[in-house]
Amino acid sequence: MSLEPQIAMSPTPVAPSRRKWGRGLSATVGFVATVFLTFLGLLAITFFIGRVIPIDPVLAVVGDRASNEVYEAARVAMGLDQPLPVQFFHYVVNVFSGDLGQSVSTGRPVVEDLSRFFPATLEMATIGIIIGVALGVPLGVIAASRQGSVIDQIIRVVGLLGYSMPAFWLGLVGLALFYARLRWVGGPGRLDIFYDGLVEPVTGLLLVDSLIKGEFEIFWNAVHHLILPASVLGFFSLAYIARMTRSFMLDQLSQEFVTTARVKGVPERVVIWRHAFNPIRVPLITVIGLSYAGLLEGSVMIETVFSWPGIGNYLTTALLNADMNAVLGSTLVIGAVFIFINKISDVLYRVLDPRAR
């Protein structure tokens, strides 16, 4: 459909490619603009929510026994005496110059804290989602292609368990079994205590940093510590992904074009993977993206159980201490992750589905 006017309007063969290039450029500009606007909206929402909640950030700094003069001085020093729009403007300018303020509870700049805590969560969530996708998608496809069989029933029960089991319980049982009794995995924390601080952080991801430095012993130690919490997270996303994959596949397998493929004499394996699975990659990306974003928010339960210095832990501590700069900073990072994952999904849609181009 879209090709006909293009051909009609382009007498020379050069024209279509130039048009395509121009379209690509304007698409990129539009893309950057939407990301920027979404981010600005996110900043506004986190900032104003941060200001309207009944927590007094000044009190958190000066303590509740400070005199009025000290209190006022601190308020002015923090810029809280200015009107909200002005405060917001300063905040936005600061954020774009890479300054999220000072954390009250740790005494360090929030940016520094986040660059320490977020990679821990990123590492765990990434391994978790890889486990979830690598097992969840094939399980869902197998369940759907043998609907009603014993295998299908087993996969459905596993999925149900993933939905209904509390994360902290599974984490504790995992620790009790695989760490305390079997000694297969490392205990809480990201590394054994005597390895701590031996690797200079480059990316903050221990697996990457230790490999860069060639410290294989530390790498394996980090793997030992990471594998259990990541598997627990992976199990929850596996359950969700497998269930969604199964229902998407069942929907596709009843479509006419699947029958067409069978009429052509195509082997069942090809019918399932090429004809039924390929069209569901787009909705699956949404499911996986949301699931990954959910893990990146930091699972407070898992991080607590495994003493994992992640962003979920950091945010909770900051909230309890009324450490507003830290709260806003963490919220911003989490929001940015959501925006980023959504935008990546949008790009992948266009790659995978010709109808969305």
């Binding site: 006419e256 029958t259 493929a261 009429v263 052509k264 195509v266 390929n278 069209p279």
Partner: protein, 277 residues
């Protein structure tokens, strides 16, 4: 010589919560290299007959027959693997609506290529040549461009021609066309049927044309089966349709308007005449 397709006492049934329901209740017919039309209203079992011949009725559906043989091969005794070498290569089927029967994320060319290379291992260049020739045979003017399009980029009529190309490219001996034109505009219906008719006749294939349109079937077929609620009620040559005897066929014929119509009202089918048969 035995006919190409023998069907004797074919039954198709599905379980429901009130017991098994038969949708095809013991039909029999033979087919040579000719054009057979199966007509009937919705739910008369005509599509199920077509799918049973390709063994496409999936569990829990059940197909039984005293004999269901294609070129002497007992279809019901074939394994899934053996059926795959028959489907597409020897018996093929054009489905109803190209909007749903073409894979939305594969190009037209890829889908046609798949139909061919599933049965014949050919070098890429030859596959491409065969696709272009086939697309020309179904009267697509610009085959190179069309082969690179996705199904949502082609019209219904063109989609159905692509479907025909895809189903005929491995060179089957029997083509089942399951309501191939009911999703199309009236203006392109004749076009599509002409193409099917042309290709089937020149290749000397057998054709089963499933439709609810008596007129259409009598124009394009040699022989007609009229089906009603799972049974064949009338079997006759296309030219003898006017002398059909069964009250259902007579009723259908009487309900067809003609161009110089003088009746004020068209008659309605009186089902009491054949209920229970």
């Amino acid at each position: 010589m035995a006919p190409m397709l023998e069907v004797k006492n074919l039954r198709v049934s599905f379980p429901t919560h009130r017991g098994r329901v038969e949708v095809v209740k013991g039909i029999s017919f033979d087919l040579g290299r000719e054009r057979l039309g199966i007509v009937g209203e919705s739910g008369s079992g005509k599509s199920m007959t077509g799918r049973a011949i390709l063994k496409l009725i999936r569990k829990p559906g059940l197909v039984t027959a005293d004999r269901l043989a294609f070129e002497g091969v007992d279809i019901l005794r074939q394994s899934e693997k053996q059926m795959r070498s028959i489907r597409g290569a020897r018996i093929s089927m054009v489905m109803q609506d190209p909007k749903f029967s073409l894979n939305p994320v594969m190009t037209v060319g890829e889908q046609i290529a798949e139909a061919l290379v599933t049965h014949e291992k050919l070098p890429r260049r030859e596959v491409n040549e065969r696709i272009l020739t086939m697309l020309e045979a179904v009267r697509i003017n610009d085959p190179k461009r069309v082969a690179g399009l996705y199904p949502h980029e082609v019209s219904g009529g063109m989609g159905q021609r692509v479907m025909i190309a895809m189903m005929l490219i491995p060179g089957p001996e029997l083509l089942i066309a399951d309501e191939p034109t009911s999703a199309l505009d009236v203006s392109v219906q004749a076009q599509v049927l002409d193409i099917i008719d042309d290709l089937v006749t020149t290749k000397g294939m057998g054709l089963i044309l499933i439709s609810h349109d008596l007129n259409l079937v009598s124009r394009y077929c040699d022989r007609i089966l009229v089906m009603n609620s799972g049974t064949v009620v009338e079997e006759c040559a296309a030219g003898e349709l006017d002398s059909a005897r069964h009250p259902y066929t007579r009723g259908l014929l009487a309900a067809m308007p003609t161009i110089d119509e003088s009746r004020d009202e068209l008659p309605v089918l009186d089902r009491s005449q054949w209920a229970g048969t």
